[in-house]
Symmetry: C2
Subunit: 492 residues, 2 copies
Amino acid sequence: MAVELPFARWIEDNQDALIQRLREAVEIPSVSGDASYRPHVHRMGQWLNDELVKLGAEIRSIPMGPQELEGQTLDLPPVLIGSLGKDPKKRTILLYGHYDVQPALLSDGWKHEPFKLTHDKDTDRLYGRGSSDDKGPILGWLNVIQAHKETGTDLPVNLKFCFEGMEESGSEGLEELVIKEAKGEFADVDAVCISDNYWLGTSSPCLTYGLRGLSYFSCSISGPGADLHSGVFGAVVHEPMTDLFALFSKLVTPQGEILIPGINEKVAPLTAEERKLYEVIDITLADLESAIGGKVIISDDKAEALMARMRYPSLSIHGIEGAFSTPGAKTVIPASVKGKFSIRLVPDLEPEEVGKLVEKYLKDEFAKLNSKNTLKVEMLHGGKPWVTSIEHWNFKAATAATEKVWGKTPDFTREGGSIPITLTFAEALNKNVMLLPMGRGDDGAHSQGFRASAGSLITNEKLDKDNFIKGSVTLGLYLHEVPAAAAAAEAQ
Amino acid sequence: MAVELPFARWIEDNQDALIQRLREAVEIPSVSGDASYRPHVHRMGQWLNDELVKLGAEIRSIPMGPQELEGQTLDLPPVLIGSLGKDPKKRTILLYGHYDVQPALLSDGWKHEPFKLTHDKDTDRLYGRGSSDDKGPILGWLNVIQAHKETGTDLPVNLKFCFEGMEESGSEGLEELVIKEAKGEFADVDAVCISDNYWLGTSSPCLTYGLRGLSYFSCSISGPGADLHSGVFGAVVHEPMTDLFALFSKLVTPQGEILIPGINEKVAPLTAEERKLYEVIDITLADLESAIGGKVIISDDKAEALMARMRYPSLSIHGIEGAFSTPGAKTVIPASVKGKFSIRLVPDLEPEEVGKLVEKYLKDEFAKLNSKNTLKVEMLHGGKPWVTSIEHWNFKAATAATEKVWGKTPDFTREGGSIPITLTFAEALNKNVMLLPMGRGDDGAHSQGFRASAGSLITNEKLDKDNFIKGSVTLGLYLHEVPAAAAAAEAQ
């Protein structure tokens, strides 16, 4: 290992014990979305609390109140809030992670028992639910703290913790708690580090400085009082489906260009330097095609394809509620249909403003159809985009650490999707937030299915042993780089 | 009653007994689409066979072979083929009807037990599954034959019968049988009368001389290897849904105009006389709006609205298979979607020819989208349109009969939907086919849901007592008018 600091050497020398601790964590099936697993989530919260306390941290286990789930009233798992070190001369870094996991069953197609950690010696990967999302990264922090303790090394920063047990199920109550603690436990925080996403690909580490926001729309068109038979009323009535297709064909071109006036105009202009950030990202069009499972990328330019994902808005039509949707051939004229689409937002697009633009545009275009049907537009939900500056010392520290551990400059990425807690921290604390991932793009970490196409079964979540060990060292070294980076920024 | 012929008087005088026979028929739950009801369908076939034989008919009960249904091997219900009278000096009329019914359960929302005939004295309507579709009409023929027998009246025509027990479930094997019997039992048939549809509205009888055909299409667009997350791949890939909306928006305008070149050009031109046929039909735009359940008729002209239904093609988009179709907000990019639409056909549009026009058009338009996705067009099924001449003596006879019984000229209608057996008779026998309905437009006869909007629950099938009794007289009188009408036609 390139890093010769004692804490780093200790991590490397004790990796078997550290993997053993990850094994313990994975073996607690802390599935937050299933009522029958709830006791395990509480058990996992208690386990993490005990580990942190054992390492010297002061932890408050905050009860989050009751929750109705599957007809039962359950206690929400606690949020662990706390600190380690209160030296006023040191910077204070807030660490976020979650100790709950997605559901997993062997019968879903797992190669190994999902709640046992299985070390595949051929690939050196650690299989198990939560290995990458997000127990691995949380335990990375435990590894760092223990390594400092065991080697008698002083932690170079004060730490604050915010570890929740409901991330996979809506983070109930967390936003309110963060806002409250912004003036309490988190008042002295200088920067935030979230380790809960993934490298873009499989070979280069990355730091993530932006997330797209979202405006989700339901567009209802109705006319007849009930579904009609197309033999009897085809060409007699204004058909809601015909109107919907006419209307939605005006939303976006097959080349992905959004046609709603006012949207593209609000996107921050691209600078030549910013474009370079995408050009140097260590991924190829072939990598992306492999993840997509087809040669259907709009642009033939890698940087353009990445920018489409990360720094431009997008509009996707998801489906229709109320129309014929099963196999076969039904000759129905649906009486009322709801078309669903969403727009991914980037600065400076705000959900509310986008909502108004969309509603006005749809109404104007619908009026042009001269239909006697009725249109109703509804924004189902909205979330703001988030982008921060990679020039901040928080990123400089993590960049330096990554270079030392991995021997290469990290990719600077923005995620196409959203991680709402990021925005909450940024807005409530008004401090720099950075996403420093541990796992790789093919970890199969999430259950949303979009990594299934990358050739790795979503059900076979795993973490490279290398990512766990060197990743832990990266987290620790980042903390070591903070004082110098922050001082340099202050000196400017 | 205006008709003083003895058979007509006998029907009126014996209506309680005739309703009692209808009651017997309705009480046999001959649901052809449910394996567990199959013995009842066979029982119903036997019952009808016995009644016909009792009245002097010669009947062959044709076994139709085995059928796989719900994992069981069942015997298909027989088709009853036969005759009554073989006088070479008389014309021969082939009667078609079906003795099976749609499913019905009290728990579906019926006011009365569906397989009991309930006489609602307030409205004088006979509630029960099959009352209108199609046991009432079949028993109408029994009434006519019995009335002639009881009053010693000679039947003015020879009769042939074709009564099936699978009409509601695809008429399996019937087409082949009719083609075979065209040179056998049906060789001497001069004209066909089908009583298995309905008046257009509720106050005027009608004769039906046309049916639209159908070409049903599934249009598959695929690209990514699996569903993608719109946050990650929105604006990166060519989205199949975007392509589908762009493509289907080119099919038909919100005013119902089909945009596929070659379709409208093939429609037989409208003559001034033909237009008059629609102008005099006894129905108003308000009646149609009431059936539709909304004020969404494209044309403000009644004749135009009726022609849209009866004599012009129509194109309806039914739905999408493979897209998000449930309530809520899912941010999926569907990887592969199948859009379904169909075109109702009128002369001179043939399904095969339409299939070629549609496929070429869709491929040409898809090419213009410059998408890297893949398009596949499939015609799921096709049926030819059918139109015959109301100047034929078969229609002249039924017109005269209707005028005498109901005191008004019948509406001459074409149905927007299809009744495939009509075309089979027309093509196999090469004789005039006429649809002479007994029931009213609001009988709630069918289970396809399109009459639900007419304010009558589809589950509450019924037949007006008046339609049963006067309707039976109309059927009989039609037979009486045949000789003179046919002779007049021959004399021309």
